[in-house]
Structure formats: C-alpha cells, structure tokens
C-alpha cells in the first residue's frame, strides 16, 4: 500500500528536473516575451502549474480506469495531437494573435486562460517521466488510485517549476522580449512540424 505514496513522489523528485527541461522551451518564451509585474508572472506560472495538474488528473483517471484497454497507438496519437495544439498556441501567442484588444484576434478571456491551457497541454505531453508514470498507472486498473498517483507525481515535479518565476525578471528588458518572441515562434514551428510528422507516420 505504501508503494502508492512512495512511488509517485520518488518518480517525480527524481525526474522533475527532466520535466522542467522539457517544458522550458515552451514556458520560457511565454514568460519572457511580455512585460508583466512580478506578481503577474507568478500568476502565470501558477496557472500553468494548475493546467498541468488538471492534465495529470484527467489522464490519471482515464488511464487508471481503462488501463491496458487503451492501445499505445491511441496514446501516441493523443500526445502528438496535444503537442500540435500546444505549438499552435505558442505561435499564436508569440506573434500576437492572442491579445486583449483586437477585432480579429482571440479576446482577453482566452488570453487569461492561455497559461492554464498551455499547462494542461504540456501536462499530457510525451515527456518521458510522464510516460513512466503512465506505465505504472496502466497496471493499477483503478480510477481513484490513478488520480492519486498523478497528483503526488505532480506535487513532486512541481518543486522544480517555481524557480521559473524568476525568468519574469527578464521580461523587463526589451531585447529579451524580442528574442523570446522569436524563439517562441521558432520552438512552436519546430514542434508543430514534428507533431505533424509523427501524426502522419501514424496514419
């Protein structure tokens, strides 16, 4: 029984740094390319983290319940589809298509929920520690235990995410904002092409 407590925490603590480095190319430009107050930076990171939690819990529940009935191919397809959505979101945000005042673009409400959505999509992505957690949950065949496992895994990995708030200091410098936007577009395009390529391979 104690395994259900210890396993996710140890897995999260040991692989959290890997989670962070995987999320970094998405989160870093997002935090830096817009000038905000430190408090707002913290809110953005918090929304992102809760998005991840939401993603983890949903997956924990689904996979914990359905277990091996879900095939590898379905999981892969879902992951890469989420990656494509995430890439689109990052590109849209980087080029300024998601902003508060614009007739043709997505409005302020959407802008506010973007960090959460990005966190959610990031949370259900093909990150190797996530896959490891998923493998364990596959064998549980239990809805609640699946949620519980991913909740603890989330808590342990989140320890590594809070320092990202300090990246917010960089968004006070214009040069960083410009380069962050450019790298946001570039990263988005790279992952978009990659996810399309993988989906194409599957089809």
């Amino acid at each position: 029984m104690k395994e259900i407590f210890i396993q996710p925490i140890l897995l999260g603590l040991s692989s959290g740094i890997f989670c962070l480095s995987y999320c970094f190319p998405f989160v870093a430009p997002f935090v830096v390319f817009e000038e905000r107050k430190t408090k707002e930076d913290f809110k953005v990171i918090l929304k992102f983290i809760f998005g991840r939690l939401f993603g983890y819990l949903i997956f924990g529940a689904i996979f914990g319940y359905l277990g091996e009935r879900i095939t590898n191919k379905t999981v892969d397809f879902f992951f890469f589809f989420a990656l494509a959505c995430l890439s689109f979101l990052l590109i849209f945000y980087s080029v300024g298509l998601i902003r508060e005042k614009s007739g043709i673009c997505l409005g302020p409400k959407f802008k506010k929920t973007t960090p959460f959505l990005m966190g959610f999509l990031m949370g259900i992505n093909v990150c190797p520690p996530f896959l490891m957690a998923l493998n364990y949950v596959f064998l549980l065949h239990a809805f609640l235990e699946g949620i519980f496992f991913f909740f603890l895994f989330f808590l342990a990995t989140t320890v590594y995410f809070f320092p990202l708030t300090f990246l917010g200091f960089l968004n006070k410098i214009e040069e960083f904002r410009i380069f962050a936007r450019a790298s946001g577009v570039l990263v988005g395009l790279m992952f978009l092409v990659y996810s399309f390529y993988k989906i194409y391979q599957m089809i």
Binding site: P25, N72, L170, I178, A180, V187
Partner: protein, 443 residues
C-alpha cells in the same frame, strides 16, 4: 587581439577549411564507393578530420564574431544566448525522441522464439522472462521489440565491444589454455544484476552507445585475421542477441573456429538446445542457489531456469564451467556455499570446474566491500573437501587457487598467474605426466 592578425587568420583558415572539406567529401565517398581503401577512408573521415575541421572553423569565425561583438550590446548578446538555449533544448528533445524511434524494421533482424497473442501482442519465449509485448514495446532485455505484431532483434549485427582476450579472462581454465579468444558483445541483458560489471553496455539500449555494424561473416573473418582460435560471445548477456550469436557460431564452425558462450544461463530449453550443437564451451554465472538471491539481485530472475540450463548443457556434451561471484553478506554464508557445491556435485558431477570469483563494488552495488581472499579460499577448500575436483578462485592474485592439479597425483598440471599460463604440463590430450586425464578441450 589585433584585427589584422585575426583577419589574416580568418583568410588562411578559410583555405585550410576548403582543403579539409574536400578531404571530407573524398573520404566520405571512399567509405561507400571504395575509391580509396575503406579502412583509410573511415580512419580519415571519422577519426582524423573532424577535430582539425572544428579548430579551423572556430579560427575562421573569430574575426566576424569579434566584429559582431563590438557592434552589439551585451543585453542583446545575452538575449540571443537565451533564445539559443530555448531553441537548443527544443531541438535536443526532438532529436532525443527521434533517435529512440528512428531505428526502423530495416535496422532490425527478425527474432526467433515468440508467439503471437491477440491484437498484435507477442510473447517472447527466448528466456524465462517471457515478456508480453504490445506493438512498439521493447522487452526487459532492451534488445527485442514488437513491431506491428512481429518480434525483432534490435541488436543483431551491432557490436558494442570487441577485444582479443586471453581465454583465462572469461574465465575458462579447461579450454585451450593460454590461447587468445576473439570476444564480442552487443548491448542488453535479461537479468540486469545490481552488481553488473559491464553495465555500460549491458544495461543500455543499442542507440545509447556507439556500436559498430558487423555481419556474421565479417566477425568470423576478423576473428580468423586476429589469429584467435575461438570466438567468445561475452561481456553483455549473449542470450539477448541469440539470432546473431547463432548465425556467427554456425559460420565459425564451418571455418574451423571454436565458439564459447559466457552467460548467466537465463535461457529457455528450446533455444538452448537449438544453439548447443554450434557451441564448444559454455561458462555459466551461477549466482547463487537461493531463489531469494536472484529475486533481490536481478530484475526478475529465478534460479530454476539457470539450473535447468546447466543440466541441458552438461547432458549435451558441450564443455561447461561455472562461476560463482561471492558477494560478502549476500551469498557467502557457509550454508549457501555448501548448497551450491552440493547441487553441482549431485547434478553435474565432480568434473565440472567451479570458479569462486571476487566481488568488487560496481553498478548499483557500491555499498558492499570486495570479497576477502580468505572467504574465497574457504569456499574453494569446502568445494574440494566435498568432492569437486577442479575448483579455482578468480579476480585475485592467488597462485594455488588458479592452478589446475592432477586429481590423483596432486601434481600441478597448469600453473597460471592472473590471465596468463606460466606452465602447462599437460599433453595435447589433456593428460598429466602420470597419465591421468583432465576433462576439457585442449586442442
């Protein structure tokens, strides 16, 4: 540095780069089209050219970089470095995930010994792990993969390590003493022992280390060229590259080479029986007679299949030697050792050489000290007192423990020091001067 000097350096290095690039093309083309000897081309392309090329590239870039830095503010430079980090990490992750999935069926070799279950799921029957794999999944051994309902060997023809070793290093003491043996390995292992001494290649996927592609024909050809009398399948667990090993062994037999398997013996009966006709000697790591020990020290091992494999090998007539790694506090109690010795005596006979080898901290078992010499000597004495005729101690410098004695006269038959034979008093038939015959393969 002076701008003029940097400019000159940039010019000169540009010409050198042009020359090196031409050489790169020629050697690269030579590797496939043989316009120059392949060995020379590969040596130039992979070993000689890359480093000078990089050095001259850096020298060539110094001047423009200097100019750029003079015109750019530090903030911009740091912002640029930040974006390089972000994009670089993204590229790294794509590269990493692709590298793992890049290998396609064309890079693999069809595996033997598996059965198809429902929904393209397969059960591998090569070893007692009996991995059940859904499409895309890889076995515990990190060497076999289910691709769309068919099982493939991912390590066939991918050599991770190749050496010319003294046969005593294996250790095999009753097999062509003093000879050199062409030793090869791939990656992967089906037991994953915590004390693994070759974990750098045994506990990894084939794409995690540099491997060299060699066909069975090339392996046999190289072995003959090296002057070795035998080929050893060793270092990692040979069972995981079964198909490759079998193909090489068949070919080696045709060319008059002997073959040796250095294994933990965790293999099923059917594949083992199919392989044995092509194998001259088998060395088994008999880790302990207790199942708990196997369960504690390996990923999911059991002792019964290892015992069964040893009985099959012995019965087949293939030469068998056994190694027991004595680990302080884990399998070195008098009771454990006695059980192990008695099992060998009762099931395999008193002629099977037994090597007690010294443990040294490695891989995941770094908290246990090396085995004291006294423990090994005691184990040897116990085995000899219980009736085993050929008992040795290894991984330590002990003349008596590494000498083969004639069983009746107790005269030294082969005296060894380390991996080397100091004196061999046996004739070609393996007979002592007194006429006593020592079992083994001597010619």
């Amino acid at each position: 540095m002076n701008a003029k000097i940097l400019f000159k350096l940039s010019q000169i290095s540009g010409w050198v780069l042009l020359f090196l690039t031409t050489l790169f093309f020629i050697s690269g083309y030579g590797m496939t089209k043989q316009i120059i000897p392949v060995g020379l081309a590969t040596w130039l392309h992979n070993r000689i050219l890359p480093i000078p090329f990089l050095i001259f590239l850096v020298l060539h870039c110094l001047f423009p970089v200097r100019n750029l830095l003079r015109r750019t503010s530090p903030k911009t430079i740091f912002a640029f470095l930040f974006s390089v980090l972000v994009v670089g990490l993204a590229g790294f992750f794509i590269f990493r995930s692709e590298k793992a999935s890049r290998e396609t069926v064309e890079d693999f070799h069809p595996a033997k010994f598996y059965e198809n279950l429902d929904n393209k799921i397969v059960r591998c029957n090569l070893c007692p792990n009996h991995c059940i794999l859904a499409p895309g999944q890889i076995g515990l051994c990190k060497a076999r993969k289910n691709v769309d309902g068919k099982l493939y060997s991912m390590v066939y023809g991918k050599i991770a390590s190749v050496h010319l070793d003294p046969v005593e290093k294996k250790p095999l003491f009753h097999f062509l003493p003093g000879s050199l043996i062409y030793s090869i390995s791939t990656t992967g292992c089906n037991l994953q022992c915590k004390f693994c001494q070759n974990w750098q290649i045994a506990q990894v996927f084939p794409w995690e280390v540099e491997t060299k592609k060699m066909s069975p024909e090339e392996v046999v050809e190289e072995a003959i060229k090296s002057g070795a009398k035998a080929i050893a399948f060793t270092y990692n667990e040979p069972t995981v590259y079964y198909e490759y090993m079998e193909d090489i062994a068949k070919l080696a037999k045709e060319k008059g080479l002997k073959t040796v398997v250095i294994s933990a013996g965790y293999i099923n009966e059917e594949p083992l029986k199919e392989l044995l006709p092509y194998i001259d000697a088998y060395k088994i790591d008999f880790k302990g007679v207790d199942n708990k020990f196997y369960q504690k020290m390996t990923v999911s091992g059991r002792v019964e299949p290892v015992m069964a494999a040893m009985k099959i090998i012995k019965k087949s007539g293939t030469w068998l030697e056994i190694v027991n790694l004595v680990i302080p506090g884990e399998n070195d109690s008098e009771e454990d050792l006695r059980k192990l010795i008695l099992w060998i005596k009762e099931n395999l006979g008193t002629d099977v050489p037994l090597h007690f080898t010294r443990f040294h901290p490695d891989y995941k078992l770094l908290n246990i000290p090396p085995t004291p010499l006294e423990t090994l000597k005691k184990a040897r004495k116990m085995a000899m007192d219980l009736g085993l005729k050929y008992v040795y101690i290894g991984n330590v410098d002990d003349l008596e423990g590494s000498t083969t004695y004639c069983p009746e006269s107790k005269e030294p038959a082969i005296i060894r020091k380390g991996f080397f034979v100091l004196q061999n008093n046996l004739n070609e038939e393996g007979q002592c001067k007194t006429g006593e015959k020592i079992p083994g393969i001597w010619k």
